[in-house]
Amino acid sequence: MSTTADLEGLASRDAVGQVIAGRSPTRIALRRLRSDKVAVVSSGTVLLLVVLALLAPLITSVLGIHATTTDPDAPLPSEVLSYDGFPAVGPPYYPFTWEHPLGLAPQTGVDNLARLLYGLRTSLAVATAATVLSTLIGVSVGLVAGFARGWLDRLISFCIDLFLSFPFILGALALAPIVVSRFSTDLEALARAQVLALVAVLVVFGWMGLARLIRGQVFSLREREFVQAAHVLGLPTRHILFKELLPNLVAPIVVAVSLTLPAYVAAEAGLSYLGIGLTGVPSLGQTINDAVPSFEKYPLYLWAPVVTVMVLVLALNLLGDAVRDAFDPRTRR
């Protein structure tokens, strides 16, 4: 044994002579992520889309485009559309113009790029909010159920099964008209209520998976020595749950989050496409729904939001996969 090893304390050298430092699992995972090309590219893409979404107001005002017809400065439909509602500038019947890089929407004449950026904003906001909430709920319920044993665990498990068995689309379909009739007189409240209702629907039908996962993890963790030791020391349950168990659950939580986010983005687009999501604010699903009837003549109108959703969901999914691989010591790349 050489003296250098002693001097470096915890660090040691392997056979080749490299320094091996003690690292937390998270740091190891981050290191692995950085060296994973797919992860780098997909996180770059996600970051770009997030920045675009965040800067939507700035970009649209610089380009002089508008996402809604209610904007007093936006051109009126009759000023930019032909008799049948197709744009009188740009695609599909006129050449490309830099003023409206993705063209104008038929019927309303709003700019497709502006709509896309604001739609992206809505998608990401809804998906993020839903992910945060469902993670919080899922983790707490899972922790309690896993740790409680006995009747409380059985009760919570029953609730999880109950929610799992309730059809998601049906719930969303039932909720939409209720929200509309409740807030019918105040449109701003309605728009807010729709966003909240959408987030609520996604959360209510989305927390169970994580709760089950966490419960299972807690089952195996709670028999481990450090938890037993904490028990013996007489630490309060809260402390054991949040200080002893939770840090050890970071990996599965991060993985679950990274895979839930794209699922919610897709679900938001899907619900808005079905007309039970958002109506008051621009959304990608809504735009896709709008674009279907004119697809034959005006494919760009449909492709832009579809490709955006696809890229966003794909990038988030690949990132999620990479995160899972990075946290899982058994995978080797």
């Binding site: 008799y83 049948d84 019918s184 007189t185 007309g275 729904n289």
Partner: protein
């Protein structure tokens, strides 16, 4: 009559929109405009009558056989002949299935509809003051089971038309004009003892409480036809009305499908207008509009013998017009859509006028998916173009129909000291087209100085919410009316006559308009000799608009339907804005 479905009253998809007479001051459209419908003739169901017309009808070159597939995105309302009062139910029943006293026939030369006899041998004989009508029922007309149709059957059918409780959707002309129509409640409630309809052999005598010169038109409704007594339980009869016409029900799943097959007992010699060329008609009510258009545009296989009575989508209109003009059928329909401020709430005429200046006609029409000049035509009269004796007037001096001037609206509002006046109206939050149009309307009204508060409702609840006279959430109603026949008599009573709000609600009087002077004028005009009525109705139209301005017209309707390449004889029935079923045949 009513729109195809109540729910679509103001949505674009199902409704007939208005056509544009290229207004001035609009940005030039370098595409040229749509080759539109003949705006002058929209409502021209033809005042033509031909009491002499006799069957059988032969179409030169027409071939027998084939199946006609009819696609639509929405199901039918009640198919009970007594209750049929929507464009689709009326036109399908009287075009193919049920016969009534009179009927409309398409006139190829004028493109108009002509009123011709049907079950009756002529168009009826009135007495001096039109309070008694005599119709002679033809011999040789049979039910689908082979039994002879008698004058008694027709009498029973007419008696049924008094029953407003069993047939909620039906038209109330029998109650309004017939002897004791307000007291007699139909055979189920009041029994068959009714003095207003008498039978003597083949002759039917109808007695009126007040002059009813338009009786031959009312006679063209399926409600004025025979009903088999004892087989007419309303809940069941609407699923299988007995046929007297060329086709009969074989299979009917409401909201889904309907199959009509040839009625072997129909005798072409007794029918002055219908034909029986195709083997059968198969209706499918569950195809969405995008798909219908695609099927018809592709025109492959079965699509060649397919047709629709829905309007083609604005997105596909140009393709149909440029590439398949021969399969696109454009025409008029006697429809006026309007915004009606609640007369009890929006009491200042200047505010109502300001609203008419501020309304974004073109923008809202485009956003809602109408095709200017085809499915939306601008105008000011309540009576659509083509109504007899119609003369254009303009209740807003200087206002070009279809144009918007928010500055002028603001001026009027300031004059009335009503800047910030709140306008509250219903829109269907689950119909994307309506939502788009609503956004534009809000913007325009706010620009003019109104406070715009659209009230969200759903497609399903729209009619109920609108027709509640005590709905305090709204002070403006959007509505529309289609004439039942080319006379002001089918417009002014339903649209402007006061109703008993407690008893009957607001009916079709969406403005809740009530002026004793107008009520009285309506009564007087309907008593006038028939030749003097058209001028008088038009005068009244202008008088109401200039004096009270209770509502303003958003535009008139037109239709743009399409069919496959093997469907022949598809014309527009301008009386209903539907296909003329009677002359359709399939190329073999």
């Amino acid at each position: 009559m009513r729109f195809r479905r109540p729910v679509i009253a103001v949505t674009a998809v199902g409704m007939l929109a208005l056509a544009a007479c290229g207004g001035s001051g609009e940005p030039a459209d370098d595409n040229g405009r749509a080759k539109g419908v003949d705006a002058e003739k929209l409502a021209d169901t033809g005042t033509g009558m031909d009491a002499e017309r006799e069957g059988p009808v032969k179409i030169d070159g027409a071939t027998e056989g084939g199946t006609v597939t009819v696609l639509s995105y929405a199901g039918l309302n009640s198919m009970d002949p007594t209750e049929a009062y929507y464009q689709s139910t009326l036109s399908i029943l009287s075009g193919l299935v049920t016969r009534s006293l009179t009927q409309f026939a398409y006139d190829e030369e004028s493109g108009e509809m002509t009123l011709v006899p049907d079950l009756a041998t002529d168009l009826g004989t009135p007495n001096e003051d039109y309070t008694e009508w005599e119709f002679t029922i033809r011999d040789g007309v049979k039910w689908e089971n082979g039994d002879e149709v008698t004058a008694e059957d027709v009498r029973y059918g007419i008696l049924r038309s008094f029953d407003r409780a069993s047939f909620l959707e039906g038209a109330n002309y029998s109650n309004a004009y017939f002897l004791d129509g307000d007291e007699y409640k139909g055979p189920y409630k009041s029994g068959k003892d009714y003095a207003g309809v008498e039978v003597d052999g083949d002759t039917l005598t109808l007695k009126m409480a007040r002059p009813f010169p338009d009786m031959p038109y009312w006679g063209s409704f399926p409600a004025m036809g025979p009903i088999p007594e004892g087989e007419d339980e309303p809940e069941e009869y609407r699923l299988h009305p007995w046929s007297t016409g060329p086709y009969m029900f074989e299979d009917y799943n409401p909201e889904k499908s309907l199959t009509l097959v040839r009625n072997p007992h129909w005798d072409p010699n007794t029918d002055p207008s219908r034909t029986q060329y195709p083997e059968q008609y198969v209706f499918d009510f569950q195809t969405d509009s995008t798909k219908i258009d695609q099927i018809l545009l592709k025109d492959q296989g079965e699509a060649q013998t397919t047709m629709t009575y829905d309007n083609v989508l604005a997105a596909n209109f140009r393709t149909f017009q440029d590439e398949h003009a021969d399969r696109l059928v454009l025409g008029g329909s006697p429809l006026t859509t309007y915004w009606a401020p609640d007369y009890r709430k929006v009491t200042d005429k200047r505010v109502r006028q300001a609203l008419a200046w501020a309304y974004p006609y073109r923008d809202a029409a485009l956003a809602a998916g109408y095709v200017e000049g085809v499915t939306r035509i601008w105008g000011t009269n309540l009576l659509p173009p083509g109504m007899p004796g119609r003369t254009e007037y303009n209740p807003l001096p200087g206002h070009e129909p279809g144009s918007t001037d928010t500055a002028k609206a603001r001026e009027l509002l300031e004059e009335a000291d009503a800047v910030g006046y709140e306008i509250k109206w219903l829109f269907q939050n689950d119909d994307p087209n309506t939502v788009k149009a609503t956004d534009i309307v809000v913007r325009s009204l706010e620009e003019a100085g109104f406070e715009a508060s659209p009230v969200a409702t759903t497609i399903a609840n729209f009619s109920t919410d609108r027709e509640d006279p005590d709905n305090d959430d709204i002070n403006v109603r959007s509505g529309g009316w289609l004439s039942d026949w080319p006379s002001g008599g089918s417009w002014f009573p339903p649209v402007f006559q006061s109703t008993d709000l407690e008893e009957e609600g607001l009916g079709s009087n969406y403005a809740v308009f009530s002026e004793p002077e107008v009520d009285q004028r309506i009564e007087e005009i309907s008593m006038l000799p028939i030749e003097e009525q058209p001028a008088a109705w038009n005068e009244l139209d202008e008088f109401i608009a200039t004096e009270y301005f209770p509502l303003f017209v958003l535009g008139y309707g037109g239709v743009a339907m399409a069919h496959g390449s093997k469907i022949e004889g598809f014309e527009v029935d301008t009386a209903a804005g539907m296909p003329t079923w009677k002359g359709i045949w399939v190329e073999q």
